[in-house]
Symmetry: C2
Subunit: 378 residues, 2 copies
């Protein structure tokens, strides 16, 4: 019997789990939110992941359930576990990724390096935090944010008055998170995979270049990531995975500060945009590794095919059609570029695909990746 | 609109077209012979490819039709073309791959190097060919053979009396093919891809090791393939592709003779077992390239990720279950091996999967590939 994995959520992360499932002989099924989802090829069911019965029916007969996103409610996750379903990552681990305040509390309790932070229930809490941190800080909603949404840099509590007003809704968790504005040199990301029986493997730490709060480019490995930086990043991610009991891929977004500290920014308990380079650049991609990990199969080699891999997101996509229209021109120009089209309708700012290039000269690899992605812009 | 490709036949070649289709954002559909085919994930229809109406209905709305195998009847292929469907390779090209006598005639007429051969309509024809070629020759059925089926080494016409008796069936083409028994050092294979607008790219020539008439192992590139051998092999394949108007991937199986000649053995106008290494070992796999070629998209870079890639077939598979049962042990032993499980029931001699390893020391890469495949044997 083939091993069977069910993925909740039909986005591009579920879509990109399909190729390694095909190669490894795994049966993959997807519970998609809508018809025509990015992962439609494997979408055996369209339904609401908030509905316990829908999700229980979807999970029947699979060897493991995993996720395209972190939004499945705890009540649904717990019902799956109670029904004897293998759920990876576990509800306990996912809870930490679902609430930024819980995350900060857990990471701080573990002694892991995080920016200064505070729990905000009132404007007065924020005023106090502002006074202690130079009058300008980051405020985040505890739940529901992604890709820069739910994040504001503020100098006054008036700038998040709407968020404070909204805290009476229990779905918000009842509080906001304030963080110091970190004086950072650059952003890094460290991905690891951990299987239930405990094995962990790490890819090289990468540099992530953000634009408007969204990941725009990833350089793998991070340039000038000396042994020290790479060691610290990997050690942090291994500790997070172990201490929080994460199963599957864990991506830890990091700040490299101007005073040479490494601080944890965010966690994602699933394949992550900063790991897409691994599809073309690593012996084992983050998508194959995630499938292996959630099925408790031994993990794969994370060596790289080239000195440098660079991934550039296609954000928004062509204004006059789809990525497919631009494929011939790109392919003619760059026979070595690896194009990934998520099968989504172009829309301003939307992640509709990415391009990866490999090589031994970083400047050249970056140039080619940017030029390739540019074919799909405007 | 996404580009749409339809594949006739639901075997492992169709299955392995799915991953690159997903990445490139192509919509792929498969007309499978049976439920539960190897390519079942993309099988939008189950039906008989001998039936014109079935195939015409399947082809509606696709940008190109291509194939998992070469068995679609000419009448069906011509009906598709008449209906305005892009068919790649074309019926004219496929005709040459469907009939070994036609192939020999065309290749000989083009002056390409082939073993001595003869068309046999009667036992007397074979007796004459035997007399001229040392009393021991190869006889092949003109149509329908694959993986060693339809091939016999004979010293007397009695040994193929059943085949002569069968020639009254027009499906046989009415004749057999006799070939000299080539005194060869080893077998090579040269794959190229050609798009309708004429562009051709080649992968490195590989060595193919056969057991019982079936491809067992492939070493890429072929060891000790000096510039001369590589150049001749590539030149032959480019000429075949151009002269026969092949579109998509063309694999040319070659003999390297003990007197240092390169002779054409067989042609396959589709991704081929000798090119499976390219999934893990080349920037552009033969499956991605085939999709690009049949859609007339510019072709991809055929550079390699490592000095050596070695592929070993999993023939038969485990006697006590499926490949999935053996996956954990293999993965624990070889985190760098790339496993491909075709999702087929094990059966003696059946190709149910393959394993590829990469590295810079050929002996080590061969050892690891064989050891990996061994996990699925017995």
């Amino acid at each position: 019997m083939a091993l069977r994995v069910g993925v909740i959520g039909g986005g591009q992360l579920a879509r990109m789990m399909v190729p390694p499932a095909v190669h490894l002989g795994l049966e993959i099924s997807v519970l998609a939110e809508t018809e025509g989802s990015s992962a439609r090829l494997a979408a055996t069911q369209v339904g609401d992941y908030h509905d316990v019965e829908t999700v229980l029916a979807f999970a029947r007969g699979v060897d493991a359930i995993t996720f395209d996103h972190e939004h499945v409610p705890q009540t649904v996750l717990r019902a799956l576990v109670d029904a004897g379903v293998e759920v990876h990552p576990s509800p306990e681990a996912l809870f930490v990724a679902q609430d930024k305040l819980v995350m900060r509390e857990r990471l701080s309790a573990l002694g892991l390096p995080v920016p200064d932070w505070a729990r905000l229930e009132t404007a007065a809490d924020l005023d106090a935090f502002l006074a202690d941190h130079g009058g300008r800080v980051v405020v985040k909603t505890a739940r529901g944010g992604y890709d820069g949404k739910g994040v504001r840099v503020v100098s006054s509590s008036h700038e998040v008055a709407d968020w404070f007003d909204g805290l009476s809704d229990p779905a918000t968790g009842g509080a906001l998170l304030a963080e110091e504005l970190v004086d950072f040199r650059r952003e890094l990301a460290q991905s690891v995979a951990r299987r239930p029986s405990g094995e962990i493997v790490a890819w090289p730490v990468v540099e992530s270049i953000q634009r408007d709060g969204v990941c725009a480019e990833v350089l793998a490995p991070a340039p000038r990531s000396t042994g020290r930086i790479a060691d610290i990043a990997e050690d942090i991610a291994r500790r997070v995975a172990t201490e929080l009991g994460v199963t599957g891929v864990l991506a830890v977004e990091l700040f490299e500060t101007n005073d040479d500290r490494i601080l944890i920014n965010e966690l994602a308990m699933r394949p992550h945009n900063t790991g897409h380079w691994s599809i073309d650049g690593s012996t084992t991609s983050q998508f194959e590794q995630h499938l292996r990990a959630v099925l408790d199969l031994p993990l794969g080699d994370t060596g790289t095919h080239a000195d440098w891999s660079v991934m550039v997101n296609v954000l928004g996509g062509p204004s006059d059609g789809t990525m497919a229209n631009r494929l011939p021109a790109l392919m003619a120009d760059q026979p070595g570029a690896k194009v990934h089209d998520y099968g989504k309708e172009p829309r301003p700012g939307r992640k509709v695909g990415h391009v990866t290039t490999l090589g031994d000269d970083l400047d050249d690899v970056v140039y080619r990746a940017r030029a390739a992605a540019e074919f799909f812009a405007g």
